[in-house]
Subunit: 118 residues, 3 copies
């Protein structure tokens, strides 16, 4: 089994694949900093779509998501976007907790483990 | 390798299996909200036993656990339950940190990655 | 696929391997408690090197890292050590968030998923 990496810098890769699995770096709304959590969630999920496509996967093959919110009171605001984005019948497992993120302009960060396309 | 999901809603599945692995959604004490952390941990671990059985796994095949406590001062209280529950010689890797959870009636949430039965 | 565990106690194992994957328990600076985050990160990464070697892996085969900092203002201090430690071209995916850790003498904890040697 080979390890494949994409968008690899000195700190992290955005994508690592191995053994049929895809790991994504924690994604934030790089195109919507300081926007509402709703807009940041939309932008983050768009970014995840793009990375999954690059990896050879897609949103209907996500296995697990961890969602960190800088303010847990935005839980429903995030969910309103998330619930629409998740394909019917293909929801991953998920855990959501509050945590201060590395950069204050971001209010939501999402970590993904997915399956490569069959 | 096929993806199998159980208890799948529009937001998440409680179980996803793939490639010999079992992922569980972050579990909380749905039958013991607002109870002590000891009671919540007991209830959460019972729920995990049930989900692992549904998935085709069991507590002696857990690979990794992440435990989020809403108040890290309950660390020993949670551990007292956890240490008894873990089968001798089959403890998974584990990380425990403090984080505010999505619903204030819960004080402990546990995320599990396990192996399917051999 | 067999599960192999190392340094297994009643609470956790430090290493669990399965299906070509290596899971490490959340690592802290057991040899540098209460030291600076820079020193704690150095000590934690040394510990990870040792565990990966025991597991049959190495730092150039890390797939995913989650880093918890007890104070996110130490993000750059941690990164200065991390960026030097990561092998060129082999950076894993990564997510870093703030979280209070189980023991106050530790300011950084790192969770690792890696690939066994080919």
């Amino acid at each position: 089994m080979n390890i494949t990496r994409h968008e690899t810098g000195s700190r992290m890769s955005q994508i690592v694949t191995y053994g049929g699995f895809v790991f994504l770096a924690g994604q934030v709304a790089v195109n919507a900093p300081s926007a509402s959590t709703r807009e940041q969630t939309l932008n983050t999920l768009e970014r995840i779509d793009t990375l999954l496509e690059t990896a050879g996967s897609s949103r209907d093959r996500i296995l697990s998501a961890i969602i960190w919110l800088s303010d847990i009171s935005t839980f429903q605001e995030m969910n309103a976007v998330w619930d629409t984005w998740v394909p019917a019948g293909a929801a991953p497992v998920r855990a959501t907790v509050e945590a201060k993120l590395a950069e204050p302009q971001y209010s939501v960060e999402i970590g993904i483990i997915a399956a490569l396309a069959a």
